[in-house]
Structure formats: C-alpha cells, structure tokens
Amino acid sequence: MQKKIEAIIKPFKLEEIKQALAEIGSFGMTISDVKGFGQQKGHTALYRGAEYEVDFLPKTKIEIIVSEEMADLVIETIEKTAKTGKIGDGKIFVYDVSQAIRIRTGQTGNEAI
C-alpha cells in the first residue's frame, strides 16, 4: 500500500525540502500554490486610507505518494527541513492511497510511483 503525504509549508522552504528528499532517495512530487491560516494570522493593510484585513497567507502544498515503508522517513525529512521554529511553519497530513497507477506503463502499486 501507498501513503499520500501532504505538507503545507512556507514557500521559501520548497527548494531545501526538494533537495533533502532527493538525498533520501524519494523522487516524484507534485506541488501547488495555496493560501491558508492557522495559528498564524494575516495582517492589516491600508489602501488609499482605508484599512483591510489580509487573512490568508501564501503557502506551498507538497503532495508525495510513497510506499508505506518509505513514508516515515519522508515525513521525518520534511518535518526536519521545513521547521524554522516560527509560527506558520505548516502541517503534514497523511492519507491512505487505495490505488496508484503510472499512466505511461500501466504499472500499479509501488511500481507506479
């Protein structure tokens, strides 16, 4: 079985995480731009004399599908690398994958990723 690891991180940490993951031999990931808030809130901005709230902060979402065996190592690596110790560092969520297929070859399961 495979696991999906979904990490919401500070955008500028992406490069570092990518390299750290390459080193432990995990390849393949999908990323996207998201916005969010949690304990870290947005800030107040001012436009032409009127105040307004910017609630959502830019974050990057990383999605990695790995085999169950690799999952812990990948999670640990992300955790370590993404951490700055400051508020807003982000979260990691893990899900079960019930099927994985490589379109080009039709391979499934761990061979697909």
């Binding site: 001012l46 436009y47 032409r48 004399g49 959502f56």
Partner: protein, 406 residues
C-alpha cells in the same frame, strides 16, 4: 502674405498640431490609468469605453459640438453650422479643431473613471454623446467661445481648463455616480470601507506618466501660438510650471501618506501628480515656479483628503477621478483668483459655480433619463462575475490565473 507673417502662421498652426498630438496621447493615459486601477474582471470594459469614447467624442464634437462652442450664435450657445473653411485668424482652422477636439475627449475620459466597474456600456456611450456634443460645448461657448454668458462670466480666467475641462468632467461624473451608487462590496454597514485595490499598478503608473507628458501639450498648446519671442517664453513658463506642479503634487502626497498612514501609498502619489497638473491648469502661465510648486503641493494634499471625504460619504469613485479633476479643478481655478494680480477671486468663484451648476444638473438630467428608461447599472450577478465576461465576453487577461475572493 508677408514672409514673417507666414512663418508665424506656420509655427502657430504647427504648435497646435503638436499639442493636439500630445493631448490625444492623454487618451492612452486615461485608458492605462483606469485599466490599472480597476479589477481585472472589469478591465476589458474600461479599455473598450476609453477607446470608443475618444472616437465618439471626436465625431460628435465635429458634427455638433465645435460649432455650438465656437460658432457665433447667441451668448448661450453657438450657431451649430458645421465647421467649415480652412484657415482661421492666424492659424489653420483645422489645426485648431484638432487641438480642441482632444480636449473634449479628455473631459469625457474623466467620466469613464468615475463610473467604472458598474455602468452599462451603451447608456454610458449615450451620456458621452450628449456630454461631448452639447453640455461641454455650451459651457465652453461662454468661456473660450467668448460670450461670457452675457457678461455673467466677465473676468473669469481659466487658461487651459481646470474648470472648463477638468471640473466639467468631474461634475458630469459626480452626477452619474449619485444615480449609479457604489460598487457592491465597497461600503459595509456601520461606515466600514472595504478597499478594492487596483489590479495593475505598473499600468496605472504608465498612465500617469502618459498623462503628464500629454499635459505639456494640454497646457502648452493653450497658449495657442508659438511664433514670437513672447509666445515661446510663455510656453516655456507654462511647461516648466506644469512639470514642477506635478512634481510638487506627487511629493506632497508622498509625504502626507507617510505621515497619515506610516507608508507611502503609490496610488495616492499618482493621484497627487495628476492633482498638481489639474491644479496648475487654470493658470500655468503667470506664476513663478515657487508659486507653481505651492499650487501643485496643495493639489497633492487635497487629493488625499478628498478621497477619504468621498469614501466617507459613500461616493464611490474607483480611480479617484472626482478628487483629482473636480476638487483640484476648483482649487486651481480659485488659485488664479487668489494669486494672479488682474483676476478677481469673485469672478473665479462665479465661474466655478455657474459652470458647475449647469454641468451638474444637465448631466444629472441626462443620467436620470437613461436610468429610468434603459437603466444604467449592470445586474448584480454581472457585477459579481465582472462586466468583461458577462457584457463583453472577453477577459482582459484570459490566461492569467486570478485570485478568487482570496
């Protein structure tokens, strides 16, 4: 024609043509400024309006407006005979027409900014038709047309149109806004103001620079002659004063926003520069540069407070056109009364009021007729989705991903 006379004719006409080209360029400036200060979803609409209103203004002013303004007629309105002949006294008639027509387009552009992001296209064009063919020319007939409205405007002095062009555009826009209402989501209950940031500040900055450049023709050309030492000296003063008033307006807004908001607000700096330009326009010829700096700086200060003032009264003016053109058109006209030796402040006030009342109420009437016949505002859903998609079927930046309510 004697040689020296001919040279003067050539240079005077030529200067009108060059100035006219510069003023025509202001149409691009308005288009860019307004496109930069509205939201992406209404950008195609504002671009379309700006290019078509310029086109319509030129044609309607040719067929009707120019003669209502400069035709003999009576003291209220000109003759209405179509422009004819080729040379006027001392310069080419057509060069004069070309220079004048780009002015009327400027007045019309001001309106488009004020009513942006919620007006329906065709009623807007209808209003522009009336404004450029009738309203603007009639009040122009009194001042630049020389009739003084039967003496009422005696002594009124407006070199390049702080009142005649800019505040006329502002009054026409204000009348529209009052009948149109604010954009959805701009004003919350209990007086909260939700800012709606402009979508493309480089475009807005470009537009400001374009207007700034064009203004050298707007004010410089209003000398209406170039071919003598006196004329070129005057034009030099006009252009240098125009430039430095804009600088002063920008810097004043820069400093004031830093003091008020603890940050320099670029959109206010842009509006500040434009305010300096509008303010100096009524009299760029007489002041020293010191005074031009003062007049421009007051313009830059006024615009910041005016924008907050209009917001407070829930008069929603997406690009700040009222604060720039109406408020500073008035300020600039008053300044001539205060500072120019041979001009009476009272004559200036009378001019501002008479022209203001005429323009505001005639505009209000036209807007009201449009509102209660075909309607002037897009539907709520259209406004939410953006006029571009619903009315024009064309996004301004179709490939760029936009933030949706984020």
């Amino acid at each position: 024609m004697e040689f020296s006379e001919e040279m003067k004719y050539v240079l005077d006409s030529f200067w009108l043509l060059i100035s006219g080209c510069l003023v025509m360029w202001m149409a691009a400036g308005f288009a860019m400024l307004e496109a930069g200060l509205v939201r992406t979803k209404n950008t195609t609409a504002i671009l379309t309006k700006n290019i078509t209103l310029y086109s319509l203004a030129c044609i309607s002013y040719y067929y009707v407006g120019y003669n209502l303004m400069y035709g003999s007629g009576n003291s209220f309105v000109g003759s209405g005979v179509m422009m004819s002949g080729t040379s006027a006294d001392g310069h080419s008639l057509i060069s004069d027409f070309f220079f004048q027509v780009v002015f009327v387009a400027t007045a019309a552009s001001i309106v488009s900014g004020t009513v942006a992001e919620r007006i329906k296209f065709w009623p807007f064009m209808g209003f522009i038709l009336v404004l450029t063919a009738v309203i603007y020319p009639i009040q122009g007939h009194w001042s630049w047309g020389g009739t003084s409205l039967g003496g009422m405007l005696d002594g009124f002095s407006d070199f390049a149109g702080s009142t005649i062009v800019h505040s006329v555009g502002g009054w026409a826009g204000l009348a529209g806004v009052l009948l149109l209402g604010a954009r959805k989501g701009k004003f919350g209950s209990d007086g909260v103001i939700y800012p709606i940031p402009g979508s493309n500040l480089p475009l807005a900055t470009l537009g400001t620079f374009v207007l700034w450049l064009g203004w050298f023709g707007f004010n410089g050309g209003s000398q209406l002659a170039l071919g003598s030492k006196a004329d070129v000296d005057a034009i030099s003063a006009v252009i240098a004063n125009t430039n430095i008033a804009a600088c002063a307006g920008a810097l004043a807004a820069m400093i004031l926003t830093q003091l008020l908001y603890k940050r320099v607000d670029l959109t206010m700096v842009l509006n500040g520069a434009l305010s300096g330009l509008v303010a100096i326009t009524a009299g760029p010829d007489y002041p020293s540069m010191n005074l031009a700096i003062f007049i421009g700086a007051i313009g830059g200060i006024l615009v910041v407070f005016a924008i907050q003032f209009f917001d407070k009264f829930k008069i929603d003016d997406p690009v700040g056109a009222l604060s720039v053109h109406l408020v500073n058109g008035i300020w600039g006209t008053l300044a001539v009364g205060i500072f120019k030796p041979d001009v009476a402040l009272f004559a200036q006030i009378k001019g501002i009021v008479v022209i203001g009342i005429f323009t505001f109420f005639s505009s209000l009437l036209v807007w009201a007729v449009l509102k209660f016949s075909v309607g002037i505002r897009v539907s709520e859903e259209e406004e939410y989705n953006g006029i571009d998609v619903d009315e024009f079927g064309l996004q301004a930046y179709p490939e760029f991903v936009e933030r949706q309510g984020v």
